[in-house]
């Protein structure tokens, strides 16, 4: 304990509480389970496949994981408040198409237009959830459909594919490399560091946890519940839009069919990373581990040449089920 100096006041009674060893173990599994499995998989993968631990392959995992990771960062905030954002897959695709569409007005427009539009979608969803008190599931399901519709109207039902010119600044943002890693990887890392600090060290972060833990209590403690929720959905929308923008830049075009079902992969990654679907607990470091874990599983299955890549879904699904069962069990055991 951190009580160095003796206090003048005599305590009326003294109670000492400490976590039992079992509780502590449960806590560790909850927070770092995904990281442990990730390390294990990396070791096993390196020993089994010679082509796995190469710089090129690992760099590949990093860049393909960076796009869902950005989306998952926003999703982590949303889920910790006890909400859900099903719209991110559509918003991700919309962001890409908008970037490719708007880049004709310059790089800044190519970056800002998707961010603003996707942020606005998040804002509308947040307002409906926080102020009108509609269920996040329904609101963001509507958002999923709406964003997809918007995307189709911009791309004339998918008939028009907007291109991002080779060599443009935007394209280079998506395609450039530094020390063998793509620019988006560095951006993702930076975003996660900022996200972690925001979550742990700011009043906003505290509010996010408090709302997910006990919304009514949080309101009574003076937490600005509605404002925090709105910000969280705006963040999620913007991060999905940014991710879509960079992905489009990497592919040099706004591909309209991307992002279908992405929201589910992202939610899976966040939950695997130890964030409780019921809200109130979770961390961005866990989320990164969760995203990488799913990325590594996919990569390893690809390494097994004769195994259909469809099995990746089966393995990820099974893994998710195991994690959720374990989480439920752990949190029940701790509450007893």
């Amino acid at each position: 304990m951190t009580t160095g100096q003796a206090t003048a006041e005599t305590p009326v009674t003294q109670d000492t509480y400490a976590l039992s060893g079992r509780d502590r173990a449960f806590g560790l599994i909850q927070r770092h389970g995904a990281t442990a499995v990730l390390v294990l998989l990396l070791v096993v993968g390196s020993l089994s496949f010679s082509r796995f631990p190469t710089g090129e392959n690992l760099g590949d995992i990093a860049i393909t994981s960076s796009f869902p990771a950005m989306v998952a960062l926003g999703m982590t905030f949303v889920i910790i408040t006890g909400g859900i954002d099903l719209s991110v897959g559509s918003v991700f695709a919309l962001g890409g198409v908008l970037a490719a569409y708007a880049v004709r007005w310059g790089t800044v427009a190519g970056l800002l237009v998707p961010l603003l539009v996707c942020g606005a979608i998040g804002l509308v969803q947040g307002l409906l959830i926080a102020r009108v008190r509609l269920a996040p599931f329904i609101v963001t399901l509507a958002g999923l459909l709406g964003a997809r519709g918007l995307l189709l109207s911009i791309s004339h039902e998918g008939a028009t594919t907007y291109l991002i010119p080779h060599g443009s600044v935007l394209a280079r943002l998506g395609q450039g490399h530094l020390f063998g890693l793509g620019y988006p990887v560095y951006l993702t890392l930076a975003l996660f560091v900022v996200g972690g600090v925001v979550l742990q060290r700011t009043g906003f972060g505290q509010a996010v946890y408090a709302i997910g833990g006990a919304e009514d209590a949080a309101a009574l403690m003076g937490v600005p519940v509605a404002r925090t929720k709105i910000v969280v959905y705006v963040l999620s929308g913007m991060l999905a839009g940014l991710s879509g923008t960079l992905n489009a830049a990497r592919l040099s075009s706004g591909v309209t069919i991307l992002g279908t079902g992405m929201e589910l992969d992202v939610i899976a990654a966040v939950v695997i990373g130890g964030t409780l679907l019921t809200g109130g607990a979770g961390s961005v470091s866990g989320t990164i581990a969760g995203v990488l874990l799913l990325g590594v599983i996919q990569n390893l299955i690809n390494q097994i040449g004769d195994l259909s890549s469809s099995y990746q879904q089966v393995v990820s699904g099974a893994f998710l089920a195991v994690v959720v069962v374990a989480q439920t069990y752990l949190s029940r055991a701790r509450r007893l």
């Binding site: 109670d15 000492t16 509480y17 997910g212 006990a214 209590a217 009574l220 003076g222």
Partner: protein, 519 residues
């Protein structure tokens, strides 16, 4: 202890908080009727009354959750006009609620300092200083914990202290404690009283809501007794003896108690034979302490006691709904598996819960389906239920219990409260129970329906059922029961039968001193 209750040294001070002629209606129902209350700095004021007396509504008006329809709340002589609980908190009116208003998964320190965390440059939270500050604050409340742990890992008492410490540390002028000791150990209660004494010394006024008379008399200066939304007594607690306080709360004038009753109980049935229900040593932490009781066929046993004494918990424990630490139940000599509601139902125990909306009635279903619900497994043959058999049973009970409905297919939501209660009763009767546990069977239903339900309870007992009756209506309890077991703080403190069974005797038993030796 030299002077547990300081003299009214602050009698001359202007009141810090005043509620003046508060009137509050909910859809036409009068919840508060010209209630006034005034608190001086450093006063600990008891607010007492039974369920539905208006305590919670008054607290909600004072803390800005509800706007009064008439009257006003004044803080330090000025109209408070709180727009909400947050507004009230900022002005220094803090409420510590029964269900602790904190976030269990956040750390102790974060809970204590949420919104007021020490900051560093860039506005980032200074975690180390936050932990130091939290540990220091809590230590002065007698709580020594690792403040980095989640709040959930603390004992209930320590959690309550954190809530209290948080409430007081925000420049509180008035602290409202709603049943603060309901989940505390005796030792923790002492700590709480120490803290309250300190608040008193700092000139902070406390509104103390509790049903534990010992506590009230130990720490409260003044008292306001509410009943049916009205103030029935206000003054110094020292001038009011216990029996008088209980009679005020329950609304039964000691002198008036002997007057003719108006319930419809006949008392014709007579208990016979071996006990069909035996509950032995039911214990559950904080809730029940070694409660034993037996009921014979054709007998109605009443459970007496104030709110929170453990009446509902006893019924739930018998029905297998409340997890028990010790004790057990036998029906007709056969033990019932502990903590299993299914086993209890199979053994013939039926519980009519207190909150029929939340725990019983399925409003969208018809009268018929509501009645058949619990009996379905019994009526099924190889998993198939014969409609004709259900119809027969439903018809029998609708007639027998005199359920007023347009027909078996009317949705239950359209029935009156009394008839809904009868539908629930019919549902359980259809399972052919041996033991019927009735938790406040006549609450919230009109006078006529009340009399019918009471007559029905009588009839059921006559037919050979063993009945446990819980009622806050003292008259109903005394006249409806053959025997009354009185509970206080989760333990049996007395049993009254025959001629001893009078309203006055029940009140005396409730009010009896138990902790005199403590002082």
């Amino acid at each position: 202890m030299t002077d547990p209750v300081p003299e009214q040294r602050n009698a001359g001070d202007p009141p810090v908080l005043e509620a003046r002629d508060i009137v509050k209606r909910f859809t036409g129902v009068l919840a508060l009727d010209r209630v006034s209350l005034s608190l001086r700095p450093g006063e600990v004021h008891a607010l007492v009354g039974e369920n539905g007396a208006g305590k919670s509504t008054l607290i909600k008006v004072i803390t800005g959750v509800h706007r009064p329809d008439e009257g006003e709340v004044r803080l330090a002589g000025r109209p408070a006009g709180f727009t909400g609980p947050l507004d009230a908190q900022r002005a220094g009116v803090q409420a510590v609620h029964q269900e602790i208003g904190l976030v269990p998964d956040l750390s102790v320190a974060r809970n204590l300092l949420l919104g007021r965390e020490p900051r560093r440059a860039l506005g980032l939270i200074d975690t180390r200083r936050m932990h130091q500050e939290a540990a220091r604050t809590l230590e002065s409340y007698g709580v020594r914990v690792d403040v980095r742990l989640p709040l959930r890992s603390l004992g209930v008492g320590a959690q309550q202290m954190v809530a209290l410490a948080r409430a007081v540390s925000v420049d509180a002028r008035v602290v409202i404690m709603d049943e603060p000791t309901s989940s505390l150990e005796p030792r923790e209660v002492e700590t709480l009283f120490g803290v309250i004494d300190r608040l008193r010394g700092q000139g902070i006024a406390v509104i103390y809501v509790s049903h534990r008379l010992d506590e009230l008399y130990r720490i409260c200066d003044g008292v306001t007794v509410l009943r049916d939304g009205r103030v029935v007594h206000q003054g110094a607690l020292a001038d009011l003896d216990r029996l008088r306080l209980v009679s005020l709360m329950l609304g039964r004038d000691v002198a008036q108690v002997r007057a003719e009753g108006v319930t419809r109980f006949s008392g014709a049935h007579e208990a016979a034979g071996e006990p069909v229900l035996e509950a032995r040593g039911l214990s559950s932490r904080h809730l029940l302490d070694d409660v034993s009781l037996t009921i014979r066929p054709r007998e109605v046993v009443g459970l007496g006691g104030l709110l929170g004494a453990g009446r509902t918990e006893t019924a739930k424990a018998i029905a297998g709904v409340l997890p028990l630490d010790a004790g057990g139940v036998t029906v007709a000599g056969l033990p019932v598996r502990r903590g299993s509601a299914t086993a209890a139902v199979r053994a013939g125990i039926a519980l009519l819960p207190e909150d029929r909306k939340a725990e019983g009635i399925v409003p969208t279903l018809s009268v018929r389906d509501n009645i058949a619900l619990a009996a379905l497994p019994r009526l099924a043959r190889a998993g198939v239920v014969s409609d004709a058999r259900i119809d027969r049973i439903v018809e029998t009970f609708m007639r027998r219990l005199r359920i007023k409905a347009t027909g078996p297919h009317q949705p239950v939501a359209e029935l009156s409260g009394g008839n809904q209660q009868k539908v629930l009763l019919a549902r359980w009767m259809a399972t052919e129970p041996k033991v019927l546990l009735l938790d406040e069977p006549t609450r919230g239903i009109d006078v006529g329906a009340k009399a019918e339900v009471q007559a029905l309870v009588d009839e059921l007992a006559e037919d050979g059922l063993a009945v446990l009756l819980i009622s806050s209506d003292l008259e109903e309890l005394v006249e409806g029961s053959d025997r009354v077991v009185v509970l206080r703080n989760g333990a049996v403190v007395g049993e009254l039968t025959g001629d001893e069974l009078t309203e006055e005797a029940v009140m005396t038993t409730i009010a009896a001193h138990t902790r005199e030796e403590v002082a």
